[in-house]
């Protein structure tokens, strides 16, 4: 696949086209990985993208994390109280957030906030000949545009997922301890003695890293191959959210099965 790859014409049935697109996406990933050494010359661009996809996503991630933690505490408090186990609230919330909800919900939010922005931006760059102009200035758009955004997504996702989980814990503490009256010491001590850094937090971070790879890859690939029309960019943006969400949820199941 050349650096100036454009939208391919349909090749056959839905299955054949789908498989072909997966193949194209794989080749695109190899192209981006091959361009990493050249991309590292554009450190300013990479840090600009980390700011854009990471720092600019912080508000939505923090607010969502807080509310998810609050809801989780409410629901679990009700369930645990049936069995007289409200002392385990902190542990259950922490395990749910770090192992599962943190990486998954962050990835879904990341796809909607940063993924769509990446797709639309790159798609519009193609439509307005900015990618062609770079090629004409002997600058490889894969190395200058695609790879920095991909790397930024991969770097930002684990950090955002951990911020999400942390804010979730604070939300759960707010509801569980401040509102519902769970003992503060019990909340934290049960949590710290039952949550394992390597098995729970690090494994959750691995998941977030993997989700960062697939969401960023899908977003950049969809933008890069979007037909250069307003309709083409709109469809590509929608596809980013749909494909990224499905792949994240499916990959979550596979990774959970292997990491358990």
């Amino acid at each position: 696949m050349s650096a100036d790859m454009k939208t391919r014409a349909p090749r056959g049935g839905m299955l054949v086209d789908g498989l072909a697109q997966v193949g194209d996406c794989g080749l695109f990933l190899l192209n981006m990985l091959g361009a990493i050494p050249r991309s590292l010359r554009h450190l300013r661009e990479i840090s600009r993208q980390i700011w854009f996809v990471g720092a600019m996503s912080l508000v939505i991630i923090m607010i969502s994390g807080l509310f998810v933690g609050m809801v989780l505490a409410l629901q679990l408090y009700y369930t645990l109280s049936i069995f007289g186990g409200t002392a385990a609230l902190g542990t259950v919330v922490a395990l749910s957030l770090y192992r599962e909800l943190g990486p998954v919900i962050t990835a879904l939010l990341f796809a909607g906030r940063a993924g769509t922005a990446m797709t639309a931006e790159i798609g519009l760059m193609r439509a307005t000949d900015q990618l062609a102009a770079m090629e004409m200035m002997a600058v490889d758009p894969i190395a200058f545009v695609a790879t920095p955004r991909f790397l930024a997504g991969v770097i930002a996702m684990p950090l955002l997922a951990n911020v999400f989980s942390l804010l979730g814990l604070l939300g759960a503490h707010l509801v569980g301890v401040t509102w519902l009256g769970v003992d503060n010491g019990t909340f934290w001590s049960n949590m710290t003695s039952n949550v394992d850094v390597w098995k729970d937090i690090v494994n959750g971070t691995w998941k977030a890293l993997a989700f960062g790879v697939v969401v960023s890859l899908i977003a950049v690939f969809q933008g890069y191959t979007a037909p250069p029309t307003s309709e083409g960019v709109a469809y590509a943006t929608t596809r980013t959210v749909v494909f990224a969400s499905i792949v994240v949820l499916a990959l979550d199941f596979v990774m959970t099965a292997f990491l358990m």
Binding site: A132, E135, A138, F144
Partner: protein, 274 residues
């Protein structure tokens, strides 16, 4: 039409054949672009003028034929050689294609930052010199969205000449410009060619503008070069192609009607006529 080889051609196109979706855009196209001159490539819409520019820059490869730029056969060049060649070519896009995230200064500085490790002071001076040449030094800190169409094209031109290229390709540089902006762009094309000796290829439809700057015109139609000469020679040309194109006749070798089936049949009158 057999072409007369130009003694000092910067671009030599021979027997170029290009198929797009099964349709021949070029069918044995041959032409020369002389060094140091302004050459206009004209022709009816859809005859592949922009495609020719893409072949020259290696953005598209032809199906057959050779295309030499400064002695290098572009379709056979590898990535590194192609990029090295592109550093010596300036390309002015029809829609300017400025990088929308960067201001005017950074747009012009972009190729320098990517390919030359220059001290910031020197880089700044080069960029300001180029912006002064296109009359937009005062607009250095404006964003592309703040520029008019004519200004954007002049910024794109400053960016295209920032490396002092041997060849500039202008893709429809006059489209959508008011008379003032059009004359400014014309003046710049003429000045760049006369003062720096940059070879220029101009794809355009506006013959009135083209005849003010072009030394040579190639008329492309039906996948081939159907006429070549100075603007005056072509304006007086007696062939069907030159008469229709330069006389602006609605019908001729380029038919008014897009090829279609029988009109009466399409209207359902076949039976009635019988």
């Amino acid at each position: 039409m057999p072409i007369e080889a130009v003694a000092d051609a910067l671009v030599e196109v021979r027997d170029l054949t290009t198929l797009l979706s099964g349709k021949a855009v070029f069918d044995g196209l041959s032409l020369d672009i002389p060094r140091g001159k302004v050459t206009a490539v004209m022709g009816p819409s859809g005859t592949g003028k922009t495609t020719l520019l893409k072949h020259i820059t290696g953005q598209m490869r032809p199906d057959r034929g050779t295309l030499r730029v400064d002695g290098q056969n572009v379709p056979t060049l590898g990535r590194e050689a192609l990029y090295a060649l592109r550093e010596r070519i300036g390309y002015l896009f029809q829609n300017s294609a400025l990088l929308t995230d960067y201001d005017v200064f950074e747009n012009v500085a972009f190729p320098l930052r990517q390919h030359a490790r220059l001290p910031e002071v020197l880089l700044r001076n080069i960029v300001l010199t180029k912006l002064q040449a296109v009359g937009l030094r005062g607009a250095a800190r404006l964003m592309p969205s703040e520029l008019s169409g004519g200004m954007a094209r002049r910024v794109a031109l400053a960016r295209a000449i920032v490396f002092d290229p041997m060849l500039i390709l202008y893709d429809e540089p006059f489209v959508g410009l008011d008379p003032i902006a059009l004359n400014q762009v014309l003046k710049l094309i003429r000045t760049l060619n006369r003062t720096l000796g940059i070879t220029s290829i101009l794809v355009a439809h506006e013959f009135a503008a083209v005849r003010q700057v072009a030394d040579l015109v190639h008329l492309i139609a039906n996948g081939r070069c159907v006429a070549s000469g100075t603007p005056e020679q072509l304006a007086r040309g007696e062939s069907d192609w030159t008469r229709q194109f330069f006389g602006g006749e609605a019908d001729g070798p380029v038919p008014f009607q897009y090829p279609a089936g029988d009109y009466a049949t399409a209207l359902g009158f076949t039976g009635a006529a019988a």
